[in-house]
Amino acid sequence: MIDVLYFAWVRERIGLPRERVETSAATVAGLIDELRAREDRYAAAFADLSALRVALDQDLSSFDAPLAGVREVAFFPPMTGG
């Protein structure tokens, strides 16, 4: 089980800020494939990966990163702070 968090329009499109996900995916990309297969709202949120960023345990990471040992995955658009 892994915590999956969504922020900004990813959160709005999927319709929830976080959920616990049972996954056997080896990488972030594998997890995304599983989520996309669930429902249209997930497919819509993950339609264009170039518009998304991912953090693993609160560090920016990449879609090909392994999930082994990770407790928290977050998906969000490019940041717009400052």
Binding site: D59, F76, T80, G81, G82
Partner: protein, 146 residues
């Protein structure tokens, strides 16, 4: 150094006074304050979402890099989240150094990294609805100069 991520408003002038008093003798203090622009009256508010936990960690990392890279006496970052009205201060950075070049460079570095590497997302709320602010290519490109 101090990092504050907060929903409460802050007073850039009072923060500047406190920061400057704490570094007396440093020679140079630079501050940057970001304000909600009114965009010709079309913007009524801004909503800022952030990633609690990661935000503080990311900002501390960015400030740590700046302290290593430049000869700084002190640094300050304040960033708000939640709902802000037009004209309100969104965030500020302050840097203090013996020489002005270091204070300016570190402040610009902090701003460039906070823009694109701290997990904040801005939504503009106007008369015609609301929209997430899109990241600019220029902001990502700005990181390359460091």
């Amino acid at each position: 150094m101090r990092v504050a991520v907060q929903s409460a408003p802050f007073d850039p002038g009072a923060e500047t006074s406190a920061f400057t008093a704490g570094v007396a003798g440093a020679g140079a203090v630079v501050t940057f304050t970001g304000l909600v622009r009114d965009q010709g009256g079309s913007l009524s508010a801004m909503e800022i979402e952030h990633y609690p936990g990661m935000t503080e960690k990311a900002i501390a990392g960015i400030v740590g890099q700046a302290m290593q890279r430049w000869s700084l006496a002190d640094a300050l970052v304040i960033h708000r989240f939640g709902r802000l009205s037009s004209g309100e201060a969104i965030m500020m950075v302050a840097t203090a150094a013996p020489h002005r070049g270091d204070a300016f460079a570190a402040a610009e570095f902090l701003m460039d990294y906070l823009k694109s590497r701290a997990p904040f997302w801005k939504k503009e709320i106007g008369a015609d609805g609301e929209d997430w602010v899109a990241a600019k290519d220029a902001d990502e490109a700005a990181l390359k100069r460091w």
